[in-house]
């Protein structure tokens, strides 16, 4: 059996990854799954988090938010709403937005959309996690 599979990651605007990888950790809505070569066919929804894949022996990180993944044989398709490679993330800005999201939740103002604020917090956390792993 092959020891790699083809990983494709795309957003509506661009294709981020199309390469042979050794494995991938993908954030689903209810927790991460690890995908290795020879994984069973799978359809699932992607949540917010840090997608990690191993390319040429090195882990690479990417903050993703919302989408779907399809695993089929030696081909994994990841369709996400937004994705940023670790080296594209501005660490200072990511920390800033995390702080803002936290503030909003700890000192809630009237009419705060809690679900939205929580999502913003999660997104900020994911971006920070990915950026720190660079």
């Amino acid at each position: 059996m092959a020891d790699t599979f083809l990983l494709e990651v795309a957003t509506p605007d661009r294709l981020l990854v199309r390469e042979q990888v050794g494995g991938a950790d993908i954030p689903l809505t209810n927790g991460y799954i690890g995908v290795l070569p020879g994984h069973a066919p799978l359809l699932a929804q992607i949540g917010t988090g840090n997608l990690v894949y191993t390319s040429q022996g090195r882990p690479r990180h990417m903050a993703v938010d919302g989408g779907w993944v399809e695993v089929l044989g030696d081909h994994v398709r990841v369709l996400v709403n937004t994705a940023e490679r670790a080296d594209e993330i501005d660490l200072a800005r990511a920390e800033e937005s995390l702080k803002r999201a936290r503030d909003r939740l700890t000192n809630p103002q009237a009419g705060l959309d809690v679900a939205r604020a929580l999502n913003a917090l999660k997104r900020a956390q994911a971006r920070l996690d990915a950026a720190k792993q660079k």
């Binding site: 509506p12 605007d13 359809l43 398709r77 369709l79």
Partner: protein, 285 residues
């Protein structure tokens, strides 16, 4: 016969027009390149999405009948037409072809109720002046449409279709075929036609396929609109480039003609003066 000064003035004015059209041609050829890049960049996602949708739809079909508000086929009584024109003119027949096609669409469906969603200033202005039923209008982003623009257009349309307020949604736009030619395209985007399925395979589904469909179908509609927006953007720049190129050539021809004419007029006046001098001299002798 116009005087020499008039002709010179005319030549100068044509020359400055030519400079403008030449500049516009260069600008749109640069924009065209970027627009084409965007079309290409968006293609992988669209391809993957339609495969994914086919696979999910098949999985969904195996455990229940495929039902979803966005797949509902109803007799087409109330139709919505999304017309993608440009915001600006000077693009040859780009806008007028679209508008003609839209009018034909309205005539063909005269027995039903057709409402329009206009994207781009040109289409909006034309149909507003003629009092067509416009339910929504979007302007200002046809030259570089972002994905969020497609989402904004799709949102209301999907909502109304799901609530059975409309029975079908068509999209009318110019597709970029080549730099010299655009192709008018009319496609039905709602109800969604599920793309033909690939080889069968049993998937493990983390979520019930029906739940996956809930997210996938609206996305599929958004992507269809996004794709059309990008195509239309590229086609628009190509049309403008061709039109401005033709205008520049025409201006050059006109300058040549006027220069020739000017020389003739000058020659004629010189000849006239010589004759006057010679006949004056002959009168003295």
């Amino acid at each position: 016969m116009p005087s020499l000064i008039d002709i010179r003035r005319r030549i100068r004015s044509v020359k400055s027009t030519q400079q403008i059209t030449r500049a516009m041609k260069l600008v749109s050829s640069a924009k065209l390149r970027r627009a084409q890049d965007r079309v290409l960049a968006a293609r992988p996602y669209a391809g993957m999405l339609s495969r994914l949708l086919a696979d999910v739809a098949r999985s969904a079909k195996s455990d229940e009948r495929l039902v979803h508000p966005l797949l509902a086929e109803r007799p087409e009584e109330r139709i919505q037409l999304i017309l993608l024109t440009a915001d600006r003119g000077l693009a040859g027949a780009f806008n007028s072809n679209l508008i003609k096609a839209a009018q034909k669409f309205l005539e063909d469906h005269a027995a039903r109720r057709v409402e329009m969603v206009t994207v781009g200033r040109k289409g909006r202005d034309f149909f507003r002046k003629r009092g067509a039923a416009i339910s929504e209008e979007h302007v200002g982003f046809t030259e570089k449409a972002a994905y969020s623009d497609a989402v904004a257009i799709a949102g209301r349309v999907i909502e109304r279709f799901a609530a059975a307020g409309i029975d079908a949604v068509y999209l009318l736009y110019n597709e970029f075929k080549s730099i010299l030619a655009q192709r008018l395209v009319v496609t039905k985007i709602l109800p969604v036609t599920v793309p033909p399925e690939a080889a069968a395979c049993d998937y493990i589904c983390e979520q019930p396929p029906a739940d996956l469909l809930n997210g996938l179908l609206p996305r599929y509609v958004e992507i269809a609109i996004h794709h059309a927006l990008l195509e239309s953007g590229a086609a628009q720049q190509a049309a403008r480039m061709t039109a401005m190129d033709a205008a520049t050539t025409n201006a050059a021809e006109m300058i040549d003609r006027l220069t020739l004419y000017m020389n003739r007029v000058r020659q004629a006046s010189i000849t006239k003066e010589i004759i006057e001098v010679v006949s004056g001299a002959a009168g003295v002798e």
